[in-house]
Symmetry: D3
């Protein structure tokens, strides 16, 4: 029997959407207020979905304590109270849009999560905007 288990986490960070090879005008046109030079920030809400077989002995797919620890190590510790553009290796040459951020988080979790589990990530940038990787379709 397979079940999906979802754990929510919370962190906050600053970022800016900007391409140095574009003019200020083009940056402002495409990224709007998100291109403001001195950064802005968000309270990110994250949902990590792990799907797998229910262990016959424990009745659990994955111990939620372990999942919580993995999310702390791979997401909260590196990103919480950080500036995505300046403090995070993955965004040295990648615009920190939430599309990219969602994928970066999925990659980090995928590396450490046992391969028997399927993994999906949903990232809320604001209460009205959120993103999912892998995509629904």
């Amino acid at each position: 029997m397979r079940v999906s288990v979802i754990r929510k986490a919370h962190f906050n960070a600053a970022h800016r959407l900007y391409r140095p090879d574009w003019s200020e005008e083009r940056n402002r046109e495409v990224f709007g207020l998100c291109s403001n030079p001195n950064f802005h920030g968000h309270n990110y809400e994250l949902e990590v979905c792990v799907t797998g077989e229910v262990d016959e002995e424990t009745g659990m797919v994955i111990n939620l304590k372990d999942l919580k620890d993995i999310i702390y190590e791979e997401v909260e510790r590196p990103f919480d109270h950080k500036n995505l553009n300046l403090d995070v290796e993955e965004f040295k040459d990648l615009i920190p849009t939430s599309e990219h951020f969602c994928y970066v988080i999925w990659q980090r979790l995928r590396k450490v999560l046992p391969s028997k589990f399927d993994l999906q990530v949903r990232l809320y940038e604001t209460p009205r905007n959120f993103f999912e990787y892998p995509p629904r379709t």
Copy 2:
């Protein structure tokens, strides 16, 4: 790389569930309080999910400003503070159940959204009742 992007919107409207070819008794039996003759109403919450390739230059699937504008033009402007039964063309001969409403919204957005994007709609009628089109399965 494909990602799903979801934008929430809010509007409110009045409606009534009623078939003129049925007796009052049958209407009341099937639609309950929702058939009350003088209408009732809801704060509708809408989630619009657009799935597509992440643009290599912008790092975005779709500019959220554009998605917000599309939702305003196709959903908020025609439906907000309206009476679905009396003010909306699509419900002249269609009962404004949330199943139908969800599909009507999907159709309106589908017409204007570029065909490279997949589209899913979730509509909350109340905090405890919501609807999705296309269906999950």
Copy 3:
């Protein structure tokens, strides 16, 4: 020992803000979309706060089952799935703004609630607009 006890309830209704002694233009100017002739509606969320002495025998201020029944009789039954302008006695000559609605609900509950209790009402018209009677200051 006094404690405040708060119970939430939910109902929905249609309404319209409109003064028949004003021109259409003035109604539209003051009430905006809320004056639309065919009504619109809301999912109202209500919080009823009862403050009183904790009964030494039961450890309760008021039995929440009783409070739930009172809210059902005085608020949900008369207002749920109704048109405030057309179906509700109190609004025959009173504009159903949420300020007035909040006060009408408080009056109805005050009449049936034992006088040893203090009573406060908060009414959400939308998730972003809400009203309180008696006022905070």
Copy 4:
């Protein structure tokens, strides 16, 4: 035309995660605080998703009143204000993890829901932990 209809419900219960064939140490190691001998409890939030054809006459997939009644009979009545370990037949020999609980609820609803409908269940154990059956993948 097929649409998915989702109804939320709420109930609360006590439980304990514990295997009598394990030592106290092993129970504590695997289940943590959840193995506390005198039980703890949760406010469970349930989302029941029914997918099916929209009825041409009523414009509904399933009458939400019927779905509400089914959820009351099969979930709220047997589980609300109960001790899952001591009061519930299904957990006499099954650890009441939320993975198992989610499946038990799905089974109960599946038995009474007409076979033309597809059924999915999401169960919130806390605001930060939730479970889905059938699984997403």
Copy 5:
């Protein structure tokens, strides 16, 4: 300049409302399902409000890290994943209604919080029922 600072916390516990000097019938009549013999439980949400002068050097009323630690020591550690009736000293001879629980939490926090601060506690038993001590009026 004085400001109010509010911190939310979360824990869960089992309890039962019951007076041993009453008959089963009277317990059931007054406490309803809450008197079920094998306990039930809740996810409690707690809001702790501390009011005081803003420190001129730090710009803070109280360091939120310190407030978080106090709430952990005085509330989460003694109550989380516990049975209020069986595991908690304060409820040996006190019915664990939320009115009493709210006051017990306030007392515990009041003892350790510096006297220069005012203290208010709000306790959610379910998303629809909550309690405040000291009372609003």
Copy 6:
């Protein structure tokens, strides 16, 4: 008759808690992760409460459209997508703690709101931390 009217608003910003006259160690000790040099950020949620007489002609305390415009001009336009430390005049010599931020917002709104209204502000820095000015007691 007086009623309280509350309007919610949303914006996001970056900030950093830091005193240049303190050592890095002391800043880290007092402000923790919030002193990170490259800023972090939040989705701020704001509740603005206006209390006043209900106008006999309109049935409103204040037109919510006007209140929405005032909040946009005085709060959203100057603070949304900004860096509080670098972009905001008021924080040139004031640490942007939420205590100070709450007071700054109150001051800005107080200046433009007619004096017949009482004004209260609640500011959510995260879903678990919020602040109120004037204070509750």
